[in-house]
């Protein structure tokens, strides 16, 4: 189970000195798509056995998220410590995660379709290639009858039920199932669970020489204040403006 800690989707993002100010982020959370993937991984374990290993690559603060994963049922935790992920390019992040998965001998990998910070979506397919595993993205559900594994994924025409064999990677969209909440016992047990912490070098991955370098961040362009109208009787005027001023209808 590959997880990433990101600013909570309700958190404001502020830019200071040309960079996003991470210290101003009010709350860090597990990336929402990862939550659905974790739920599905736990359900698959409950139905068919096995063990869920929660893996993250990130700074020290991400340890809290691994504990959260343990509280809902992750069996073991692996933290690859990288203080600033923006210093790595996609090839390096994927190499780290693929090596971490290989170390755990996992044959089914769950992750989110993209993380809610960079919104990229490169990790699932990239890790799948490095592990010589098949990959299904936009997944909402995974089931297994012991042998083959079936996933539901979004497609251009609606949804598709697809079958794959392990090793495989499932990159999750928002799922259809309710997410479980940790109970008191889970939270107590999780506090005792210690994550194994490794460096990229421990996994044999070189973190020097990223091909991508961040030049800076800016806040989104502020729109000039719009025009405000009062009451339904103004609808005619607005429709007129949409036609004549904005030219959009």
């Amino acid at each position: 189970m590959l997880l990433k800690q990101v600013p909570d989707t309700t958190a404001k993002i502020s830019v200071s000195g040309g960079r996003v100010d991470e210290s101003a982020v009010s709350k860090w959370s597990m990336s929402p798509y990862d939550e659905y993937a974790l739920e599905s991984a736990l359900q698959l374990k409950e139905a068919g056995g096995g063990e869920v290993v929660a893996i993250t690559c990130g700074p020290a603060r991400a340890a809290k998220m691994l504990t959260d994963a343990a509280a809902v049922g992750a069996d073991s935790l692996l933290h690859i410590l990288v203080e600033d992920l923006s210093t790595l390019d996609s090839t390096q992040v994927q190499a780290i995660l693929a090596a971490a998965v290989a170390r755990t001998d996992s044959d089914i990998v769950f992750c989110g379709k993209q993380a809610a910070d960079t919104n990229a979506g490169s990790t699932g397919p990239g890790v799948a290639h490095l592990l010589d595993a098949s990959c299904v993205t936009m997944v909402s559900e995974v089931t297994s009858d012991g042998g083959s594994i079936t996933a539901m994924r979004a497609s251009a025409g609606g949804n598709e039920r697809v079958a794959v064999s392990a090793p495989c990677v499932f990159a999750f969209d928002k799922g259809i199932t309710e997410l479980r909440r940790p109970n008191v016992r889970g939270i107590m047990m999780a506090k005792k669970k210690v994550a194994e912490t490794l460096s990229p070098a421990d996994l044999g991955v070189d973190t020097g020489g990223s091909s991508v370098s961040t030049k800076g961040h800016t806040p989104p362009l502020e729109k000039p204040p719009g025009q405000q109208f009062e009451g339904a009787e103004s609808v005619a005027e607005v429709v007129g403006k949409l036609r004549d001023e904005a030219n959009v209808i």
Binding site: A120, G126, G157, G158, V212, G231
Partner: protein, 306 residues
Amino acid sequence: MDITVIAESSGDGLHPVTAQLVGAAASIGGTPTLLCAGGVGATEAASIAGVVKVISVVGDCFGTFDGGAWAEALNSVAGGDVIIAAASPSGREIAATMAAMRGIPIVQDATGLAPGITVTRPIYSGKAIETSTVTSPCAITLRANAFAAAGGGGNADVSTVNQSADVAVAVKEAIAKAGERLDVAEADIIISGGRGMGDPANFSHLNEVADMIGAAVGASRAAVDTWDEIPHSMQVGQTGKTVTPRLYIAVGISGAIQHLAGMRTSKYIVAINKDPDAPIFGVADYGIVATWEDALPALKVELGKL
């Protein structure tokens, strides 16, 4: 600079974003070769101005979607230093897999490109914009409607290459979307409802307006989470779809930060809400303080006059 552009298909033809990918490739001094997976849209692709070559890649693997197989087949045909694809779900997966196969970095969801290669892209779903540089060779995916499309009138050579790959993802069953309604990710005009609609049955009023102007119907996360009748496929926002239509009409949506992140780059935004202090008015070009019960009938009458 040789640039391989992965054509984006839509049904049996090209998706309009394909001409935008070509336009963006040319803007950084690239000479683009277009790859058409499964041969879809090859003739159309040849007429895009600036395309030097179209390669129609045909093989059994293109019958259903397996991003790994498609990437393998396309990768063995693709030359070039830079790979450009659309930041659609399939484009992202194919480009990411090709990048991993080549051991080159990928930057996803760019909204700006400059020679160098300098890439601009929204992060935190648009709550900030990041500028970075990436060295060639690399792969880059581009957001739809963020780049000027190349024109028509081109006359590129089309060659066909037979190239398949082993398919590992077997499609067992296709489940068609309920209804014929436009997808919010594809639509030029979107009308969305929030929890302020009071009841999912009231979305029928949004449907009626949508039918009059060819719009898709979207929803806020609050509406999707509250009502089972409103599917996640309609959700606009940070954990739903990010949209950039030319007109976005928000009805009964307060404007939570997650929702604004998904629609704030729409060209024009109309907000209808009874609460004059709703944050949605902060991003609206035209804000109407009214209940939807009053405003939607009026909107139908006015649109009917057009």
